[in-house]
């Protein structure tokens, strides 16, 4: 076996061990070393050279990046997630016919969809969705994300929140929490527009908090412009929106008529 490949697989084993141990710092160190090692392999994207060990190398590289993605979820690092996912993507898309499909694939794709949902990047979400085959769409992981998005769009926020319990994988929980936060922001935005004020208990229910304390912290952190007094949350609506400008119709009509008269005079 190629010494480099051996080295990579040994490192990967150590990485996996550390991962199981939940020693995420070691994991990050190992991962970056692995990535550097991977750059030596010419069979990997974007070159795709036909080296003798191409299949193994591809497989191992894909494995590494899949782990990297999962690791980033564990470390709750969204930037790293995005970075690693993009690097992983060519293995799914372009190397499809050189490698047996990965068991993790749908899980990771689903995670990515969730991430997009969380970051409220709906356009990209749909772009990703379009790239998936209809068979993949039936996969529970993907289906989960798709349904979430639908509920989210409809405004059926309670359905989104209850979906937390049906998450297909433990890694999803992180994003589901984040999603709850996103939803809360949405609801807050809507309430702000809809009401002048809301009672604290209603607000707590609406914003899906379990205690008033949580609500107050939230208001302090996210919406300092809200006012809490006398058991009510008062939304400081920008009431002073300027009244819609009137169309100067009479003036226009007069002008047009005078132009017509002038024109007639010239001819």
């Amino acid at each position: 076996m190629d010494p480099q490949l051996t080295e990579v697989s040994q490192q990967l084993e150590r990485f996996k061990a550390a991962f199981v141990r939940k020693d995420y710092n070691t994991c990050s160190d190992l991962l970056s070393r692995l990535k550097v090692l991977l750059t030596k392999f010419t069979s990997l994207p974007p070159l795709f050279e036909n080296t003798p060990n191409a299949a193994q190398e591809l497989a191992i590289a894909r494995d590494i990046y899949e782990h990297a993605v999962v690791l980033s979820v564990k470390t709750e690092d969204q930037d790293a997630f995005e970075r690693d996912f993009f690097q992983l993507k060519p293995y799914y898309v372009d190397a499809r016919n050189r490698l047996p499909p990965s068991p993790q694939e749908n899980l990771i794709l689903g995670l990515n969809l969730l991430r997009l949902l969380v970051q409220n990047r709906i356009a990209e979400f749909h772009t990703e969705l379009e790239l998936l085959s209809s068979a993949t769409l039936d996969n529970p992981c993907i289906k989960h994300a798709v349904e979430l998005e639908q509920s989210f769009m409809e405004g059926a926020y309670n359905r989104v929140l209850s979906a937390r319990q049906t998450a297909p994988d433990a890694t999803y929980v992180y994003f589901m929490d984040l999603l709850a936060k996103t939803i809360r922001d949405e609801i807050a935005g809507c309430s702000e527009k809809a009401y002048d004020y809301v009672s604290i208990s209603d607000a707590r229910q609406m914003l899906l908090f379990s205690s008033d304390q949580e609500l107050l912290t939230y208001v302090n952190e996210e919406h300092p412009e809200w006012e809490v007094k006398d058991g009510f949350v008062v939304f400081q609506k920008a009431k002073e929106t300027a009244p819609c400008k009137e169309i100067p119709s009479l003036q226009l009509i007069n002008q047009t008529l005078s132009y017509a008269r002038e024109l007639e005079r010239i001819v």
Binding site: S32, K35, T39, P45, R83, V93, D94
Partner: protein, 1014 residues
């Protein structure tokens, strides 16, 4: 494998954000390969890559890579400036040898940038910071071009960027140095606009030339002439002359002829004076030369004045010196003869005389149709005659119509007399004796009319134009000894012409005193004359003249004063000839002037300073004046001036003036017509003809006049076979001349046009550029003054200065014209002389139908010609046949055989010829008429006895004799000077003495039958 491509650069882009530099580098290098496909994706990440480039901690290598990547993305985004600045940052990664659009585009951009910076640095003489990286790229490119053998590219870039060091490198390293040098000379003439820079380039070229083991002296001397370095030329000539080889001597002679062709009198004279005399008897030669000169000057009344050809002194010396010096002395005299222009003038004269094909019938028709009392048309006819016979010495028409001629009075008489000068142009030896009857006879009022006397002086100037060594003194004396305005006028013009461009102080003072007499008539001539004297010198004197023009104009405002000031203004303009930027101050001063006539001169100054350069700035300025000036005169001249600026690039002119030719202002239309006429003269350019055609039937009479003249200038020597519109035009001219109701102005135009169309016995064309693409000073000046005929008709004669014979004249070592054949590989009819008009039935001339050139006439003419040919052929013995016939016969034969073998059965061809179609080529015999369009068809016969020193299709060409011991057959005898002397080698001895007897009415010898050398 097709699937083995990434579908997105997303992965790599993501990798750029990785913390490790190795990964970033990995991503960069892969992105760099993929950028051509994924630049849209990458473009969103450009800020990241830019920040990588700017990251100081990053490895230099990687930063450069990042720069390259950004540069490529910007290139695809169309942001070339940004792209270039990043490419510069990429350092060595930017590979100039890469064959991609990206690299090509950026290189072009870089070179443009660099060139503009460099020229800015040079022109504004302030320090411009040039990015050393930019310079490095350009240098890398140059280096690459040179190593790849793309020398022309390298030279082009080096020239553009003003890197003379690189230019030199490119030339010296090229595999064909001579070829590259020639190319470089051409390029520098056509693309280097700034005069000073061109000078630098040329001096570099000369330097390179001289380092060559076998330098191309022809080109060096051309360069040196441009640089105005007579000493260099003289040294080269001397070296060649002293050489043992006869070939070198031939080369020297050829160089001299080429130099003469550019008509730079002052330069030629100084070259001549710098040629050292033979060592052993230097004094004697100098004396001999001097004596010839002094005799010429002193014998003012003597008719035989210029008789002794320079051969004579040489002959005397040769006897006494040792052989080496003897040959040198002999050669030296030849060279001096050539450089003084005498040899070429003499040969041209002989050629024009012997090949004169002018059609007297045309003149006769004009004469008969012109009303007696219409003095304008009367003198126009005289002008036409003079132009038609320019340089041929054939004055039959005048002699036959002395009665008619005598109707000319006053200024008409002046021009009639001056016309003789045009006819005898270049007849240096005989000029004085011919004009003697008309010249002022010792002291004022010797009996003759002042008009004819003045005319005669003008005529002398025309005869000696640009070669006035011998006549200057006489003209000066005449000028001094008279107070008559008319004679002063003639003398001034004569002096200006003969001393063209010499800037002779004494003459200048004489002429200036005439100017200060404040006489309109004489002053005009004096103004022009001063201009002629100072052509191209751009001295202080121009400002002096300008000041005078200002001083006088306030006092007198009469119409003739306008003429005077016009002359003066033109004179000022002449002084800045060819100075380009050097003349800008004066031009600025003149064009800003309040007085329109000075601005008018300013237009001429612009025209002449930038003549033939096609300089954009000058064109822009002229166009501006053409549409914005308040004075019609200025507008007309501004448009006309375009013709001068653009003559080196005739295709441009019709395009540029096409809009102006449709102007509502007739003056602008007139100017447009003449501009096309001037710049496209002799080219027969189709666009030019199309532009002029509608103008010839313009509603305004003087526009028609201008258009007719311009058309004639364009069509000169174009045969009907090559452009049918020539025939149409001839018929149109005839119709206008015969039409009683036509305006005088356009009638005059038509008469002049028919003169120009058949100028110089149908053997000359109007040419403003020599074959080496130099401006012909005399020709340009001639046309400029000619265009002034708007104010002063006698100036029409200046057009004769622009005529140059369309001839191939091959010369042997003795400067004789040996019999020599060559081939014109085109149908003879394409370039033949126009058919002569037929004799009209005796007394119905006035009612002559317009269509003279009907087909029946043609057929008749052809039949006649064939009959002649047959007669000729029969006269010749079995193996000999007439020239044209053998040509046509062989053309057919060889075409059949598809080979070039020249052996043909002569009797068979003679019989066949009548039914044969036209031959595909014809054989010409030295000296032959070769019209400009024909030049590209000229080929030499392979087994010829003579080999030209320089391959040239026309002009004077020296021939190397491969069989020196065989007797030579000389074909051009000294026709106009003596009864044809038999072909002998010793002609030189007799030449001097036979020169005096002049037999004008001698018929040229019929072409002799010749033997075909197989």
């Amino acid at each position: 494998m097709a699937a083995a491509m990434v579908s997105s650069a997303g992965g790599l882009l993501a990798m750029l954000n990785e913390p490790q530099p190795t990964l970033k580098h990995h991503a960069l290098s892969h992105l760099n390969n993929l950028v051509d496909r994924f630049w849209p994706e990458i473009s969103t990440s450009v800020p990241i890559i830019e920040s990588l480039y700017e990251d100081e901690e990053f490895d230099l290598h990687q930063r450069q890579l990042a720069a390259l990547l950004v540069s490529k993305v910007f290139y695809y985004l169309g942001e070339l400036n940004d792209s270039l600045s990043y490419a510069l940052g990429a350092g060595a990664f930017f590979d100039v040898s890469e064959d991609t659009d990206y690299v090509h585009t950026l290189l072009a951009k870089a070179i443009d940038e660099y060139a503009s910076l460099r020229s800015k640095a040079v022109e504004s003489s302030e320090m411009v910071d040039i990015d050393p990286r930019l310079e490095a790229i350009v240098e890398r490119m140059l280096g690459k071009c040179i190593t790849d053998g793309k020398y022309q590219q390298a030279m082009g870039i080096a020239l553009e960027c003003r890197r003379l060091d690189k230019l030199e490198e490119a030339i010296t390293k090229s595999d064909n140095v001579e070829g590259t040098l020639t190319y470089c000379i051409n390029v520098s003439h056509s693309f280097v606009n700034r005069r000073e820079y061109r000078h630098e380039v040329l001096s570099l070229l000369v330097e390179v030339y001289q380092k060559l083991p076998s330098p191309d002296y022809l080109s060096i001397c051309q360069c040196l002439m441009f640089l105005d370095e007579p000493q260099g030329v003289a040294t080269i000539l001397e070296k060649l002359l002293r050489s043992d080889s006869k070939d070198d001597a031939l080369l020297a002679l050829q160089i001299s002829f080429d130099l003469v062709e550019n008509e730079h009198q002052a330069f030629l004279l100084s070259v001549r004076d710098r040629l050292p005399a033979p060592k052993t008897r230097p004094v004697e030669v100098a004396q001999a030369v001097e004596t010839t000169a002094t005799t010429n000057e002193n014998l003012s009344g003597d008719v035989q004045m210029a008789d002794d050809t320079p051969v004579t002194p040489a002959q005397t010396i040769v006897h006494e010196t040792d052989p080496v010096d003897a040959t040198y002395a002999e050669r030296l005299t030849k060279i001096k003869g050539i450089l003084s222009g005498e040899t070429s003038i003499q040969l041209t004269l002989q050629f024009l005389y012997s090949h004169n094909k002018s059609d007297l019938l045309i003149l006769k028709t004009i004469k008969q149709s012109v009303e007696m009392r219409n003095s304008v048309c009367h003198s126009a006819t005289i002008y036409a005659n003079a132009i038609m016979h320019a340089g041929t010495t054939v004055d039959t028409f005048l002699r036959e119509n002395l009665d008619w001629l005598s109707r000319a009075t006053n200024w008409a008489k002046f021009s009639a007399t001056a016309g003789l000068g045009v006819i005898h142009r270049g007849h240096l030896q005989q000029g004085r004796s011919l004009m003697a009857p008309y010249l002022p006879q010792g002291g004022a009022g010797g009996g003759g009319s002042p008009y004819s006397e003045g005319g005669a002086l003008y005529a002398l100037g025309l005869i000696h134009a640009n070669h006035g060594e011998g006549i200057k003194q006489f003209l000066r004396d005449s000028l001094r000894s008279t107070n008559v305005e008319v004679i002063q006028h003639g003398a001034c013009l004569g002096l200006g012409l003969s001393a063209l461009g010499t800037a002779d102080e004494e003459i200048y003072d004489d002429v200036k005193s005439v100017l200060y007499t404040d006489s309109a008539v004489a002053g005009e001539a004096a103004g022009i004359s001063m201009g002629l004297l100072l052509v191209g010198t751009a001295t202080e004197k121009a400002s002096e003249m300008l000041a005078y023009a200002h001083e006088t104009q306030h006092e007198k405002i009469i119409s003739s004063w306008y003429v005077f000031l016009g002359g003066l203004a033109l004179g000022i303009a002449l002084t800045v000839y060819g100075r380009e930027e050097g003349a800008d101050t004066l031009i600025e001063q003149m064009t800003r002037d309040q007085d329109p006539i000075i601005r008018y001169g300013g237009m001429y100054a612009l025209a002449l300073a930038y003549c033939g350069t096609a300089n954009n700035k000058a064109i822009r300025q002229l166009l501006h004046f053409a549409v914005s000036d308040v004075s019609d005169d200025v507008r007309r001249t501004a448009v006309l001036a375009l013709g001068f600026v653009l003559y080196s690039d005739p295709e441009q002119t019709p395009r540029i003036v096409s809009l102006l030719s449709e102007s509502y202002n007739p003056h602008v239309r007139y100017g447009a017509a003449l501009a096309v006429g001037i710049s496209c003269a002799g080219t027969g350019l189709s666009e030019a003809i199309s532009l002029l055609e509608p103008l010839t039937s313009d509603v305004v009479d003087f526009v028609r006049q201008g258009a007719l003249i311009a058309m004639a200038m364009v069509m000169v020597q174009i045969s009907e076979a090559s452009d049918s519109r020539v025939g149409t035009f001839r018929r149109q001219l005839e119709k206008i001349i015969l039409d009683k109701h036509e305006d005088t102005m356009s009638k005059m135009g038509a008469i002049l046009a028919s003169g120009i169309l058949d100028a110089g016995g149908r053997n000359v064309t109007i040419r403003l550029l020599s074959k080496t693409k130099h401006d012909k000073v005399t020709a340009v000046i001639g046309l400029a003054v000619f265009s002034q005929f708007w104010y002063w008709y006698p100036l029409i004669y200046f057009i004769s200065l622009a005529f140059s014979p369309t001839a191939f004249i091959g010369l042997n070592y003795d400067l004789k014209v040996p019999k020599f054949e060559f081939m014109s590989h085109a149908k003879p009819s394409l370039f033949e002389y126009p058919k002569p008009t037929t004799v009209p039935t005796s007394n119905t001339a006035a009612k002559l139908p317009t269509a003279v050139l009907s087909t029946s006439v043609k057929a008749k003419a052809r039949a006649k010609k064939e009959a002649e040919q047959k007669a000729n052929a029969e006269k010749a013995s079995g193996a000999e046949k007439s020239v044209s016939e053998s040509g046509s016969g062989k053309g057919k034969e060889s075409a059949d055989k598809e080979g070039d073998s020249m052996q043909v059965d002569s009797t068979a061809t003679v019989e066949k010829k009548a039914a044969e179609p036209e031959a595909a080529f014809e054989i010409l015999v030295n000296p032959a008429r070769v019209v400009p369009a024909q030049e590209k068809y000229i080929k030499l016969l392979e087994d010829s006895r003579y080999v030209p020193v320089k391959v040239a299709p026309s002009g004077f060409v020296l021939l190397k004799d491969l069989r020196e011991h065989e007797p030579e057959v000389l074909s051009l005898t000294d026709a106009p000077t003596s009864t044809a002397s038999p072909a002998t080698g010793a002609a030189s001895a007799t030449q001097g003495t036979t020169a005096s007897a002049m037999a004008v009415d001698d018929e040229p010898q019929p072409p002799q039958a010749f033997e075909y050398a197989s």
